[in-house]
């Protein structure tokens, strides 16, 4: 039971990373993207392939997963970001499905639907982080989430955070302020993609095997739900949302009711939660974080140039 609890916590952490990425894209950039599953898969397979076939260590594959996801983020971002709203959602959804289909069919590299097994466990300073003994792995995931949180929080308060806030509120006005909206949108997309790639690496190291079936459209939808539930434009809320959604999705197993409650129940529950949220708390549980960009300037009065 405790073991199962830890497993949910680990998955929550991995999803929290993806939700942080989604929050940059959707919460800050205001772009409805449904492609986190694609980047998640790319990160997982980068780690899986490099560790099993090239004999790399898990840690060496992390920057590669990061870079490949970022590159795909750029490749997807450039052509699709002239689309808005539903159209962007459809285009990005397509990308996630393309990734999964490529993984399914590129037998020589990905071993097709069978996936890749026997991924070596991550080793740090001679200590093997064994996913079966979950504590160590949980600590590692939490460290990753904290690092991502701190970095992205800084980003939100930076020039880029301000630019994205302006773009989200009004693109035409933002342009008139001298903000290059394409540049900042693509940046947001790349960052969101790359952190999902890292989440993918962790997923591969945790499950020690990857199959294309893991990276379905539902993953993207869940990540989006996490961000919306927690509150858009708030990284704490994204992490909170990830934990809540994960616990809900394992609710039947956790309470030992899986024989009574059908597995489809969780999808009904997701839908119900979203509808309820839209009616009574559209800004999410925590709501948007009020970001003060220039604390210093408040007290300044005149002064020389």
């Amino acid at each position: 039971m405790l073991n199962f609890f830890l497993l949910i916590l680990i998955y929550s952490g991995i999803y929290a990373l993806m939700a942080i990425g989604q929050n940059v894209i959707t919460g800050y950039g205001g772009m409805l993207s449904l492609t986190q599953a694609g980047f998640f898969a790319i990160g997982s397979y980068a780690t899986a392939i490099l560790t099993t076939q090239a004999g790399w260590s898990f840690w060496a594959t992390l920057p590669v997963a990061f870079l490949i996801s970022a590159l795909f983020g750029l490749a997807i971002g450039l052509p699709t970001l002239r689309l808005k709203g539903d159209y962007l959602a459809i285009a990005t959804l397509g990308f996630g499905e393309i990734v999964r289909n490529v993984l399914n069919n590129w037998d020589s590299l990905t071993n097709g639907p069978m996936g890749i097994q026997r991924i070596p466990m991550p080793v740090i300073l001679g200590y093997t982080i064994n996913p079966y003994k979950k504590y160590a792995f949980l600590v590692m995931v939490i460290v990753f989430v904290i690092i991502a949180y701190i970095l992205f929080q800084r980003l939100a308060r930076s020039r880029m955070g301000r630019a994205l806030a302006a773009v989200r509120e009004d693109e035409i006005a933002a342009q008139s302020m001298g903000i290059n909206i394409t540049k900042y949108k693509v940046y947001a997309f790349i960052l969101g993609a790359s952190v999902a790639g890292i989440a993918g690496s962790l997923q591969a190291a945790f499950t020690l095997s990857v199959t294309p079936g893991t990276y379905t459209f539902m993953v993207s939808v869940m990540v989006l739900c996490m961000v919306v539930l927690g509150g858009m434009g708030n990284f704490k809320a994204s992490i909170l949302g990830a934990f809540i959604i994960q616990f809900i999705s394992y609710f039947p197993q956790l309470t030992g009711l899986s024989s009574v409650i059908p597995p489809q129940f969780k999808q009904i529950l997701f839908g119900l939660i979203l509808v309820v949220m839209m009616i009574w708390r559209p800004q999410g549980i925590l709501g948007r974080e009020a970001t003060r960009y220039r604390k210093r300037a408040v007290s300044t009065t005149g002064g020389e140039q």
Partner: protein, 252 residues
């Protein structure tokens, strides 16, 4: 007097509809120039093409001696790929647009909006100084600096949009219907401010308005646009006396 903005023979179309037909005009440094015309005559399209949001079919636009928009491959049938500077780069050159309908960042406070207007300014002390002078110039904004812009009245929002545009320290400010949807007294107030900005800060103003009388009274040069063409141009005081203008735009 020096020509700050020169529009040379530009045409713009939306699909088959010609929105601007061989429009030429110029704005001299230090002037207030107005463009009047009815709904759908192409006024807003002209402003959009100045800031690089509508590609040109022909002609070019020059700001302070530097070409900011022109048609690539003149003569080739690639018409629509014409831009040479994007909107953000044009803004960085010193052209600031107060868009039609104000387009304030409604969920930000007044202060944050002004900060946003100074996005291209890297000097924090200068930004703080400009903000203070905006609060002096528009006292109502100073009083509401911590308030969400959404809660401001239409006139206050318009003043904030103008203040925001001034934060980048522009040489030319483009105003797209600053009087839209506002009470006459508020409009008079705003036009007074515009005149002051022009005199005190030496900012050149290009004003697009439907309210012809207000615009002509406030400006030194005027252009009249009809169906995408400039049909009249003269000193504003002359236009106020012009028979055609009086009949069509001043309702006399």
């Amino acid at each position: 007097m020096k020509e700050l903005l020169t529009i040379d023979d530009i045409s713009v179309s939306y699909g088959n509809i010609k929105a601007l037909k061989q429009v030429s005009m110029h704005v001299n440094q230090g002037d207030i120039v107005c463009l009047i015309g009815a709904n759908g005559s192409g006024k807003s399209t002209l402003l959009k093409s100045i800031v690089g949001q509508e590609p040109l079919d022909s002609g070019s636009i020059t700001f302070d001696g530097e070409e900011i928009c022109r048609v690539k491959n003149v003569g080739a049938k690639q018409g629509k790929r014409s831009k040479i500077l994007t909107t953000d780069l044009i803004a960085a050159k010193g052209i600031s647009l107060v868009p039609e309908g104000r387009r304030v960042f409604a969920d930000m406070t007044v202060e944050e909006n002004l900060d946003m207007g100074a996005f291209i300014v890297r000097d924090d002390a200068l930004i703080a100084e400009r903000k203070e002078s905006m609060y002096d110039f528009f006292p109502i904004l100073g009083a509401r600096r911590r308030q969400k812009t959404r809660s401001l009245s239409g006139g206050e929002q318009q003043m904030m949009a103008i203040a925001r545009a001034l934060m980048s320290g522009p040489r030319l400010i483009l105003l797209d219907e600053p009087g839209l949807g506002l009470a006459p007294l508020v409009i008079a107030d705003i036009f007074e401010k515009i005149a002051l900005i022009n005199q005190q800060d030496k900012v050149t103003v290009f004003l697009v308005e439907q309210n012809a009388r207000m615009a002509l009274k406030a400006s030194s040069e005027g252009y009249v646009m009809e169906n995408g063409r400039i049909v009249l141009s003269d000193a504003s005081s002359e236009l106020l006396e012009n028979e055609l203008v009086r009949a069509a735009y001043l309702g006399e």
